[in-house]
Structure formats: structure tokens, C-alpha cells
Amino acid sequence: MKLEDFREKQIARAASDEELREALEREFQVIGRRLRRTDGLAKSSGRATFTDDISLPGMLHAKILRSPHPHARISGIDVSKALESEGVHAIVTGSDMPETYGILPWARDEYALCIDKVRYVGDGVAAVAAVDEESANEALDLIEVEYEVLPHFLDPEGALAHPEMPIHEPKKPDANGNISKHVRLEFGEVDKLLEDSEVIAEAEYYFEGTTHTAIEPHCAIGYFDTSGKLTVWSTTQVPHYLHRELARVLDLDVARVRVIQPPIGGAFGGKSEPFDLEFCVAKLAMITGRPVKILYTREEVFYAHRGRHPMLMRYRTGADKNGRIQAVDASTILDGGGYESFGLVTTYYSGQLITAPYTMESYRFDSTRVYTNKPCCGPKRGHGSVQPRFAIEVQLDRLAEALDIDPIELRRRNLLGSDTRTVNEFLVRSNGFLECLGAVEGASDWKEKYRQLPYGRGVGVAGSCYISGTNYPIYPNEMPQSAVQLQVDRSGRVAVFCGASEIGQGSDSMLAYIVSEELGVPLDYVRILAADTDFTPVDLGAYSSRITLMCGNACIDAAAKIKKQVKTAVADGWGCRPKQVALAGGWAFDVKDTDRKMPISEAFNLAEAKFGTLGATGSYNTPKDIHGEYRGGTIGSSPAYSFTAHVAEVEVDRDTGFVEVHKIWIAHDCGRALNPVLVEGQMEGSAYMGFAEAVMEQHIFKETGLHNAPSLLDYKIPSSLDTPELESLIVESVDPVGPYGAKEAGEGPLHPSIPAIANAIYDAVGVRMDRLPFMPPRVWKAIQERAEREKAGGLAPWKQEPGRTTLPAAGD
């Protein structure tokens, strides 16, 4: 084939002869390198177009009227005055969208706008589309809603005690309508093994709710074109599920609905189910024939919530004299807020996900999720398992203390190992937890610090594991969890179509790295079109840390098909076997003679001539033999588990109770780091977020049901001055299922931050902080209580050199 002119430029950018020879020595060309993101410069130059940056001709703006009551019946809504207000084009109320929705198909309990009842302050009741936000806001004031106020419950105890005042109608006649889900599972003989244990740690833990606080508020735009097709742009991390729910609630043919997910300004689980604004912009667009946008205020974001459940957790953990865990008995109350959301899954996760990285002879959990009249809780980074992880890891610290075993050593004695099953029957393949422990132990100088730092300073350790994607989709089906479609241009450009949601974690980049690795094209030949339901094959979305493993495997699957065609076509021309042809560095070349080569675009052209237009689909579905057969045994199962260990070093001010976290060492087994820069970014961002929950964040409510602090000033998230030094230590266990061995990195590394800090506080000042967050008044009080016990002779002074006096008690 004649060398076309454009190839000169491509050859100039392709790998040199020497680089090609080096390439032969390496296992991977792209994977594992510290590369740029595909969207990095677009973001750092301010050019990435987020949802609120989109403005369509003739666009209207809408606002949602929200309930001022935490629990009330709606006895009437009159919008007539509001409709006459200047600039108003349309108003919708609940009766305009009388179909329930919910992220879990068997628990659809929400209306786009409330019809009969409001269940928290902030529940939406009407939406106004007007020429601008001001006009829409003014019209909201003119809507007259008659409420019949009902008694409300802000804590699960109250709701549980009053089944006669249900927040939701009971699912069965004699059931308590305030219970959203109850799960009890037992593996092994818990009671007997507890009885036989050498030591038992028993404590009650309370995890305060926290919220995602992505810096980008939720935003959606609806557009209904003259052909009757609905398009919704949304800050969603689950475009596929949104696609389905929009069609259901608006009673449209799902094939005539399109969801587009622009770049997202952070999500962390807070955008992983449909919200009222998406239905409202769609319905208002259908009524007005004009594009309609809703941008939540920051206050609305706090009320939309779906964040971390508050959990009250009672734990009994027994160990033998060698520190081997014999029994774990957990009893948990989850404060669910006003609706179901992912509640069923959260309830299972609160128990199912703590059975690694340790062996345990027996395990029982009893979890009850309760409705309350507060914004609904849902999945936040580390869905359902960050709270019990706090409990179990502090329990282990208590056991280590009681048995006088170093807490890292205690964890080593309980290693689960690889290619094994957990006590609740999940199959665990690769497991780098031992290496994680070793990495943080070494990097933190643990052996020189634990119990040896001066009073007020301490170190703590904790471990965790997390799923690389949930094994089953949210709605039961046999289809692939993820799919990718590739299309190759004659120039060498490869387009990747995929439903996966880039939410900042780097999923677009991951796809590009894989295509570049497999097809040998330069990274900037790869174009990603993601998360547009009109063009991309389904991926279920950015939740449960599933994309790298599932979408990555789908992408390898698709690329392999094209790779085979290209190698075959080139080999035919050279008269060699296809496996003698390699694709790398912008070339197709002979592995036995790297001088024999052609630009990759030429190889693509040969393949196109031989096989027709180059394109392929690839998909991934999960293995089905990796969990137990009991009811609920699928929930928490995953093709691969990541493992993490943290050491935190803290300084506690005895006089103020202020906890300063100096540093967190984060070792994370991500299987293989496809790009270490992105993996470290996930590890650091996770550890930061856990740190924030440990010492700062409080998603709490006033008696009236109003949020205590619905602003970024009052709801404290860490600034650069608050955040500790973070050191990432990547551990690669090379998983047999993950793409190139990769597992998740986005959620696992959050978990140990909180218990590691709690355990470090204990090492520093000898007080157990079992209630989050570890704010100064709480820590100060605990220090005072300890001092009083020391004074009374009930306790030895903590970490004091001989001759030093005991601590002063309050008022001294």
C-alpha cells in the first residue's frame, strides 16, 4: 500500500526504533504509567462544560416549592395565583406525575413531587418554570399549599416506638410502617464461641450522618423536541437508571428518551439515583415546549442528601488468647430518613461487608433500617460499610489492648488470605492486605511510635476491604453489566462509546488507556463518548466502584476483536502468523524483527480492506458462583475485593480536646494501578473524606426538622489548612478477574481513616472515642472523665513516665 501523505506526521510522532525494542521488553506500554487524564487540560483550562454551563436557546428556569414541615398530609394545592405571576410559563404538582419511582424496583416509594404527604422538610411539592430564577422564586411564594401537620420523628427510636403513626404505609397489615428493612443473618455458632472466648470486647458505637458535599450542585435540563423525544442533561452518576425511571414516571416510550451526562463536578454517591429536579425539568419542558433548567441551591443539595446513614451499632467481639477472632455479634439501627432509596442494600451492606480482611469463626448481624422525617439517606462513598468498619476496627483495637498484642500483629493473626471464602461465603481471590499492613507499618515507623510517643500524641491502625462492583444489577436481568463499542477511523482514530459515568474518578481516561494499550495507538488518537443513552451501550453507572473492573474488561473484550483482525490482516501481508505481529507505539510491527513495521493507521486500513469497517462491541458480566445461596447472599458479593490499611498519627490537645491529625499513611491493594496518578488521587481523596467524617462533619437536624447547617460555611468540610499530610502506598496483588489485574481504588481507601484516627486518639490520650465525630467538646469530656477515674484510683495514668503526676481534672 502506498504511503499516504498524512502518515509522515504520524510516523514522526510514533515510537522510535529503540523505543519499539524497549517495548518488547515491557509487559505493558500504557498500563501502569503515570499519564495525563484525557480530560485534564479541559478541566484545568476551565473549558469542560458542566451541566450548569449549558444554556439552550429559549431556556426557562424552574424552582421547586419545598415542604416547610417534616411530616404532613397535603390537603390542597392552589397554583392559580402563581400561574398569573409575571414571567411564569408552567407549574407542575405531584398529580401531574402520579407514578412512583425509586432506584430499587421493588421499593419505589417516591413521587417526583409529593401527592398526598410530605415526609421531610424540603420534600418537593410543586415546580414553577419561568423566564428566570427570580420570577420562578416569586411564583413559589404565591402557591398555596394546605398542610395537615402530623407528628414527626427525627430519631429511629421514636419512629420504632410509634407504629401507629407510620411514615409509610406498612408493606404488610401487621408490620411497623416505620421499619424500612430488617435483616438478620448468622454464620456459625456465635453464642457458643462468644462464651468460649478468652476476651470479649463489647461497645456501642454511633456514626453521625454525613453528606457528600460535591462542590457542583445538582443540575438538570430538560428538552422536549417537536418529534416528541425527551432529552435530559443531568448531573447523574447513573444515566441508565435515570433513563428508565424518566420513561416510567413521565409515561414515555423509553426509546424516545435520551439522557446525557455532562462532566460531573463530584458525586461520591450523592448523584446515584433520580431526583425531583430531573422529572420536573422533563415535565415542564414537555408542557412548555422549551428547554427548562433547574439548578439546586446549595441549601437544596443538603436537603436532597442521600448521604451516609447515621448508625447506632452494638458490637460484641470475642477472641481466643492468641487474638484469633472467634465471634462477632453486631446489632445495628440505621436512620434511613424519609424514603427507601438504596435502603435495602444499605441494610445488608451494614452487615455483609465487614467479613474481610479477617477470618472470623462465627458472625451474626441484625440490622434494622428505620424511616425518620429527615432527608433520605443513601449511598455515600463506601456505601453502608464505613460505619460498621469504624466499629469493628475499634473492636479489634480493644481486643489487642486486652490481650496485650500489637494491633498490627493482631490483624496479621487473623488474615483471611487469598483464594478463600469469607464467613458469609463470599469468594475472595487476590488479597494484598498483608502487604498493606507491612507498608503502613514500615512507612509510619509504627514500631517506634505505638505506645511510645509522648502523652497527647499517638498512632492508630485500621484495615478494610471493599467491593469492585456489586455482582448484580439493581434490576434483575441477565444482560451484561457493562459494554463498550469501538469504532476505528481510517486515520487511526479510535472512538470509544460507553455508558460509563466519568465523575472525576477518571473512567474516561481508563477507557483510553486500555484502548491505547490494546490497539497500539497514541493516547490522543482515542476519543471517548460516554454516558449518552442515544449513542452509548449500557453501563450501569458510577457506583459500587464497579467501572474499572467491569467496564475495563468490556473494553479489553471489544479491543481484542479489532486487534485480532488487524494482526491477521498485517500477518497475511507479511506471510507470518498473527501472533508475530504486535501493535504498540503507533506501529504494527514484527516482534521478531522490529524493523519490519508499518504505521498503525496503515495496519487498520489493511484490516478494513480485508474485513470491512472496523468496529467491535465488548461486554462484561459477573461470575455467578462467588457467593452463598442463602437469602441476601448475593448482596455484598463482588468479582474482586480491594484491601486497605491506614496508620494515622494524631496530636490531641488535652486542654481543648482538639484532635489534629498530622498524617495518614494509606496502603491500598488496587490489584494493579492502571495509572498510579489516578489511583493515588483516589486514595488521598478517600482518606481525606474519611478524616473529614472523623473529626469535622455533622449532618444533623434541629427539632423542627430543619437542617442544622445547610451551607458550606456551617457544614464543615476540610480546607487545605485542615487536611493532614497524606501518603499513598500502592500495593498490587494482580487480581485474576480484574482488567490487567486491577481492582477498585475509589471507595475502599476511605474506610480505615476513621477507626485509625479513633485508635490513634486512644494511643495519644487513652480515651475511646466511640461516637463520631471526634469534636473538641466530646474529646475534652472523655479526657476529663478519664482523669477523674485516674484521680479516684480506678485507672493508671496513661502513658506517663514514672514520677509524673496525674492529669488535672476539670477545673484544676
Partner: protein, 193 residues
């Protein structure tokens, strides 16, 4: 000629709506002159507009972001005569006669600013939503201090919340950009990429 030219009232008050106390400035559309990224614009804005609203809604410069609308998060940060400023709480009139620089005006036309390139190389931007504000704070820091310490960087960014990175990669990016600017090399050269 004054930079502020009161133009017109926006028509008669609708029935039932009294003065403008509940919507201060609503009645007035002003024509103002604004210099943004070196361009002089004449634009009509409701007089209650903030600088961020004028930039995003009128000039369509969407680099500065609205994260909280109350001056808490820093995503809207722009430079006003070189000083990092929260454009979401700055009345647009305050920007008249001053040089406004947004993220769109940070780089020369032919190449990204060293900070932008460094952020890309180190992974300083994940979701990218806080990034434009952070870059403006960082640019002001580097304009005043060629070799900031880690602590000086932390202090310069104290008004910009990032929820993705834990800040570590942002510090690395700013240190890399500072070195590149000092040595008049590109960040990519420095990391051997």
C-alpha cells in the same frame, strides 16, 4: 464618560408589587463597561447582579463556577486587579474600571499556563469543578511568590474547597508549576513526560 450608565426602568410595577425592597435593584438594568481577560465589554446587567452572574450569564464565561453562591467554596474565584476575589459575592459594579481575569484568561493563546499543565500532569484536577477557582488563587500566589513553601500554598488555597483530591496532588501541581516558571521550562520537561 462614566462607566455606569443607568439606562431604563424595566417597565411598570405589576399589580400588588410595591417598591424594590424585596428585590433590591430589580427594576434597574444598567449598562456597564467591564474589562475581562483584556477584552472591554459593554453589557446590560440587572443592577443586583454579582460579578459571577455577569460573567456566566451575560458574557458566557463559564469557567468560574457557582458552588455555593455565598462565598464559602471558592469555585467562583477570579482575579480582580490580580487579587483572588470571590465573584459570587462581589456586586458587579465593584468590578467596573478594574481588570478581571478568569480561568479563560489565565493562559497565553499558544500554550496552557504552567499551572494548568502541572495540574494535568500531577492529577491535581479530578472532577475539575473547583479547579478554575483554585488555579486563580494559585496564579496569584505564584505571581507574588516564586518559591512558595508547602505551608504558604496551603494558606493561599484556604478559601478554595476541593472535595476530590485531599489537596495533595494540588500542592504537587503548584510546586511543579512554580519550579517550571522559575526555571523557564515546561512542567512536562520537569517530570520527564
Amino acid at each position: 464618560m462614566s462607566d455606569t450608565i443607568p439606562q431604563c426602568a424595566r417597565g411598570a410595577l405589576p399589580p400588588g408589587r410595591t417598591a424594590s425592597l424585596d428585590r433590591p435593584g430589580e427594576l434597574l438594568i444598567e449598562t456597564i463597561r467591564l474589562t475581562v481577560n483584556g477584552d472591554r465589554h459593554e453589557l446590560g446587567v440587572p443592577s443586583h447582579y454579582t460579578l459571577l452572574e455577569a460573567l456566566r450569564y451575560v458574557l458566557r464565561l463559564t469557567g468560574p463556577k457557582q458552588g455555593c453562591d455565598k462565598g464559602d467554596c471558592g469555585a467562583c474565584t477570579v482575579l480582580l486587579d490580580g487579587v483572588p476575589t470571590l465573584s459570587c459575592i462581589l456586586p458587579v459594579q465593584e468590578a467596573i474600571g478594574r481588570e478581571v481575569t478568569t480561568i479563560e484568561g489565565l493562559a497565553a493563546p499558544d500554550a496552557p499556563h504552567a499551572l494548568q499543565d502541572a495540574f494535568d500532569l500531577t492529577g491535581g484536577a479530578q472532577c475539575g469543578f473547583c479547579t478554575s477557582g483554585i488555579l486563580m488563587s494559585a496564579a496569584a500566589l505564584l505571581a507574588a511568590n516564586q518559591s512558595p513553601t508547602r505551608q504558604e500554598i496551603r494558606e493561599a488555597l484556604a478559601g478554595n474547597l476541593c472535595r476530590c483530591t485531599g489537596y495533595t496532588k494540588i500542592y504537587e501541581a503548584i510546586e511543579l508549576a512554580a519550579q517550571a516558571l522559575r526555571e523557564e521550562r515546561s512542567p512536562a520537561e520537569l517530570v520527564g513526560s
